[in-house]
Subunit: 208 residues, 2 copies
Amino acid sequence: MRKLPAKLASQLYGAAELIAERGLDATKIEDIAEATGIPKATIYYHLDGKNAVLEFLLSDLLDMIAGAVGVAVSTAEDARTRLVAAVVAQLEVMLEHPYLCRALVGDLGRATRLPELALALRAAFYEPIEQLLNDGVADGSLRPVADPAAVAMSVFGAITVAGLSAAVDGPSDDPNADAARLSAAICELLLNGLATDRAGETPNLRAT
Amino acid sequence: MRKLPAKLASQLYGAAELIAERGLDATKIEDIAEATGIPKATIYYHLDGKNAVLEFLLSDLLDMIAGAVGVAVSTAEDARTRLVAAVVAQLEVMLEHPYLCRALVGDLGRATRLPELALALRAAFYEPIEQLLNDGVADGSLRPVADPAAVAMSVFGAITVAGLSAAVDGPSDDPNADAARLSAAICELLLNGLATDRAGETPNLRAT
DNA sequence: TCACATGTTGTACTGCCAGTACAAACTAGC
DNA sequence: GCTAGTTTGTACTGGCAGTACAACATGTGA
């Protein structure tokens, strides 16, 4: 598949707000052509149909998140500080692109196959966070966890749903302030937990 | 909008696996008719089109989650124990309906309008959890948090993404064992946090 | 038991739109 | 100057969501 010319690539973002608002199904190719300024025949020349617009936008968003999180977890700070930075990094990317996030969450199955998305998230987020958890045990800033994979997914979920809620509320006047506020709450939760008393074991309800 | 007859309602679940696999767009009404055993004209008599199938399924899933979480947070136990029960409850509902969860996450924008989903989640999950957080401060089992709304969303996100990951992996031989394993990891994270040292304040990076 | 209302469903049909084909003109590279 | 790739307007096809309608079945109330 040929690489999309940079000009067209940036123009495709013009479709994000439209798709966020209407959903892909209710958005005609003609509408996308008008919103992006790319004629319909040109879209079909470069992309494999309407779904490919979202495929491209998802791929770009994941690259941005992977890049930002990659930078955040690669500093010389201790693991705890880097975890905080990773939370901030993902939230900032999401809140800088609220329409893009909304468009994708509404039609995720048309942007990718979900098992492929799981693989992409593994590479972009879960593995770096699992590595960070290991680093934290090594440098003493984080506690060991029994199931790092489940923890990494939950960290991603905590960030994503909070970020999406902000994105659904509509673009903010100050995305960076929102990212700071949300990340403070999320980091407080993820680092310190909610329990007043750190009992040795979590009660295990409903083991059946 | 008339209430769907119970027989038809239960038959509609037959479409969940199909839609989970192909996506709604690639699933014809004829396919849904065949998978559910409901003739096409009958579907159109009772529902307002293809999207209404997912609307119905989403509504049902949210009711199940709201019901299960509602029961979990209403026992006489302390708030911490009830929070654990709520995590288990949501995961169990999700893992008992993996195809339904996958179908909905792939075509969420066709099942509902996202602002409406936000309102439904507020009622079904966020408010009960925020109330629980308040109860926990009162009974001393949970620490106060500065932003209960953000915490409730993050709790939901942590559970949902972990549950979806399990759902995407395909139905398990033992959904209750998966729910127990995941909920142990999630509760450990949410209650005890990852930090070794509960510093007074979370470092506030990137305040710009 | 009858009349009426509602539910069920097969089938034919319409309109819309994704996507294709093709041709013409432009641009890039050698 | 030639060739290949890019850009794009326009006409077109096929598939399918959704509608209309008619016929039959079931339920309800008097």
